[in-house]
């Protein structure tokens, strides 16, 4: 009995998932579909299947987290997935409502459409709530409104030039995206980051996490209309960004990462002092938040993501850890300076808004600790060192403020053939939609803000 290569592809993925690996991402490249699987050790393994007559077997039944990836591969690369029915459009918007929403029928069920233009200054996203009264039955989220074709645009450029495309994918995760891209390129180029390069990148990543997490706590306050908490943490966020500007010349740390080395250099003393002040201030602001009963009343049992759902939907980052999934790409990143790092989860890992907020607060402390120990010496420019042999495909997984971001770079002759950036936000968006079901409409902004995902990460 002969087995077709397609079945092999499914069998190997099923075996890897059985063995404790998690789905990392799926993309179409040339005539192939590649699935990245992440082992508990952090090692990334690829399983590929050839596209035959424009079709490949779906793995969405094995790994539901591949749902968006397969839909994107069809919309952007025309690959059909056998067994993925219905294959609803994701990136392609030029279709009627019935084709992309899940049918919800029953007495009194109706739809509430929100966005893509919102009353506030928010990125473009369309949310279609299927509700009865104020109760959400199901949420269909439609993002990808400002698709920029960054991945396609990067193709044909040199690996160094390609960095700009990864860096502009999203402002909130600019460092994560560029570090992941740089690491993937360095695997292709047979370069290994020296301790100095790793340390500089780790500092930049943690600075990025700091302002993002402070901003996310402010966002939760805004979600319940607690102006005092919102303003306090918004001010701290801005202070952290201004520190970024002092250190690297850009509030969002743009242009601070490069392929093959580190160019950013600064004296760490002033940064340490400023960080200590931000830490003291944020700790006192957090204590005040805990004392506000009207605030803490709003948080529990809203937007619950169970541990099982977090695993099934492929949740990553603080959202996954708040559900009790102690997984953090920082713990397994041997290319960065996270020695001895262990993932933390909140004491009450209920997967609700309260747990996610607590997780953010815990991680802010962790980040302050990391920065305090990393900033013990000036940051200096350094280069990577040659190591081993180059590869055709480089893949790196870096923990962004919103979860693990996977960057895959396929290259020949030093040029980008294909780059895929699958960010933490991209992984978590389906989880947000799932968390909203069963909650009340007026609580959705709060649920959304407890994840605080980027839309731009989808609009690549």
């Amino acid at each position: 009995m002969s087995r077709s290569p397609l079945n092999d592809y499914r069998t190997r993925i099923a075996a890897a998932l059985e063995g404790g690996s998690r789905f990392g991402g799926l993309h179409a490249s040339g005539g192939t579909v590649r699935t990245a699987l992440v082992a508990p050790s952090g090692a990334i393994q690829f399983e590929s299947a050839p596209v035959v007559d424009g079709r490949v077997t779906s793995i969405v039944d094995l790994a539901p987290a591949a749902n968006w990836d397969e839909r994107e591969a069809f919309d952007s690369y025309g690959v059909r997935f056998d067994g993925h029915e219905p294959l609803r459009p994701l990136v392609d918007h030029d279709l009627d409502l019935v084709s992309w929403t899940v049918p919800v029928r029953g007495p009194d069920a109706y739809q509430v459409a929100v966005g893509p233009i919102h009353a506030g200054v928010i990125e473009s996203g369309h949310f279609r709530f299927h509700v009865v009264g104020d109760l959400i039955l199901h949420l269909d989220a439609r993002l990808f409104y400002k698709h920029r074709g960054l991945e396609r645009a990067a193709e044909g450029h040199t690996l160094a030039e390609g960095l700009a495309y990864a860096g502009r994918a999203c402002a909130a995760c600019a460092v994560t995206n560029t570090v992941a891209y740089a690491q993937a390129c360095e695997q292709v180029l047979a370069l290994h980051p020296t301790a100095e390069v790793a340390r500089a990148r780790t500092i930049l990543l943690e600075l990025e996490r700091l302002w993002n997490h402070l901003n996310d706590i402010a966002a939760v306050c805004a979600g319940v209309g607690l102006a005092a908490g919102n303003m306090r943490f918004a001010a701290l966020t801005e202070r952290a960004r201004q520190l970024n500007a002092q250190l690297t010349g850009h509030r969002f740390l743009f242009g601070s990462v490069e392929v093959g080395g580190n160019r950013v250099a600064f004296d760490a003393t002033a940064a340490r002092a400023e960080l200590a002040e931000i830490r003291a201030e944020s700790e006192s602001a957090w204590r005040e938040l805990l004392f506000n009963a009207s605030f803490s009343d709003r948080l529990p049992d809203i937007g619950v993501v169970s541990l099982e759902d977090a695993v099934t939907f492929g949740a990553v980052g603080p959202a996954a850890r708040a559900s009790g999934l102690a997984e953090d790409a920082r713990a397994t990143s041997n290319l960065l300076a996270y020695d001895g790092f262990t993932a933390i989860v909140p004491h009450r890992a209920a997967g609700d808004v309260q747990a996610r907020l607590e997780q953010h607060a815990l991680e802010v402390q962790q980040t302050f600790d990391l920065l305090a120990s990393l900033l013990d010496a000036p940051v200096v420019a350094a280069s990577c060192e040659p190591a081993g042999n180059g590869r055709a495909i480089g893949a790196a997984r870096v923990e962004s403020p919103r979860g693990a971001t996977l960057c895959i770079v396929e290259s020949t002759n030093g040029r980008v053939d294909r780059v895929r950036l699958r960010t933490g936000s991209y992984a978590n968006w389906p989880v947000v939609a799932h968390a909203a079901a069963g909650c009340l409409l007026p609580d959705f902004p709060l649920i959304n803000k407890s994840f605080e995902l980027c839309y731009a990460c989808a609009d690549r």
Partner: protein, 305 residues
């Protein structure tokens, strides 16, 4: 004297009302460590909106078109009903507090029907929440003023101001309990936190702002003025009936601006330090007010008998 009281009533209700939400906004910003807009910002908003054309929503009829004017008219009527001091002559519409409730409900009804006319999701959501909470607000409103009416032996607002004046009535806890209930009515009627958040841009959480999303230009100016006028009406009632006030009409008029400022400050403080509550808990909060007012009624009746 009564001429002055009528002048304050009309000028205050119609012209000065937007200053009240303006003051709250201004102080809220200060409490958050921001400079914020001037208290005159609502007037600038109204001037800006007045110069803009209204928007006609496709498929809507006369209900949508008339709602802003009906709302504004009902609020003008409400201003005519609510005296700012005791012994003010009625302006042809009487002084009855129950009539006031009906007139305020008319404005709410006009906006809710307009939402139904547009069929917009946000407008309908806001209107349905508003009407749901209004059931509880109105009940608490009635019970709170019932205490004052018992104390004053009348539902005539001018006589109620006279009847609750001085310090003697405060020896019974009735009026204090009614004041606590009315404080919650003020928060709900003005659409402020913890019941509603007037500053929010989050459409899904809106209550009072939801139906307004469908309006622009002069129509919106009418509705925003109406919201400000609602502040005036409930805050004047709060100041002249449910806060200790003098028996002399001169003193009542002289203290009114300060009382209004204190109440606005209180609202700003509550709104800054409190998160918006879960929407299903808002009726419970108002029920607490209703219970307090009921206790007030009991405590007054027990004393009288």
């Amino acid at each position: 004297m009564s001429a002055l009281s009528i002048a304050v009533q009309l000028a205050g209700g119609i012209v000065l009302a937007p200053l009240l939400p303006g003051l709250i906004q201004h102080w809220k910003a200060r409490l958050q460590g921001r400079r914020g807009p001037t208290p005159l910002q609502p007037y600038r908003e109204l001037r800006r909106l007045w110069g803009k054309s209204s928007v006609e929503v496709e498929g809507t009829g006369i209900v949508y078109r008339l709602a802003p004017s009906v709302t504004a008219a009902s609020l003008v009527l409400a201003i005519l009903l609510v005296p700012v001091a005791a012994h003010a002559p009625a302006l042809g519409v009487g002084r009855d507090v129950l009539a006031l409730l009906g007139v305020l409900a008319l404005g709410r009804f006009a906006v809710a029907s307009a939402s139904w006319d547009t069929g917009s999701g946000f407008a309908l959501m806001g209107a349905s929440r508003d009407l749901t909470i209004a059931v509880f607000t109105d009940a608490t409103f009635v019970l709170a003023v019932a205490v004052a009416a018992l104390v004053a032996h009348t539902t005539n607002l001018a006589s109620m101001i006279a009847g609750t004046a001085g310090t003697a009535v405060w020896s019974n806890p009735a009026l204090g309990l009614a004041a606590a209930a009315f404080a919650l009515v003020v928060v709900a009627e003005t659409g402020r936190q913890p019941v509603d958040n007037p500053d929010t841009h989050l459409e899904l959480t809106m209550i009072h702002e939801g139906p307004l999303l469908e309006y622009a230009g002069r129509d919106l100016a009418f509705l925003q003025w109406s919201a400000a006028a609602r502040h005036w009406i409930v805050l004047v009632l709060a100041a002249q009936i449910f806060l200790p006030h003098a028996t002399s009409v001169w003193a009542q008029l002289a203290v009114l601006p300060f009382a209004l400022a204190v109440l606005c400050g209180g609202l700003a403080l509550v709104e800054t330090t409190n998160a918006k509550m879960r929407i299903l808990l808002a009726p419970r909060l108002l029920a607490v007010g209703a219970a307090a007012a009921l206790l007030g009624i009991v405590s007054w009746l027990v004393q009288v008998s």
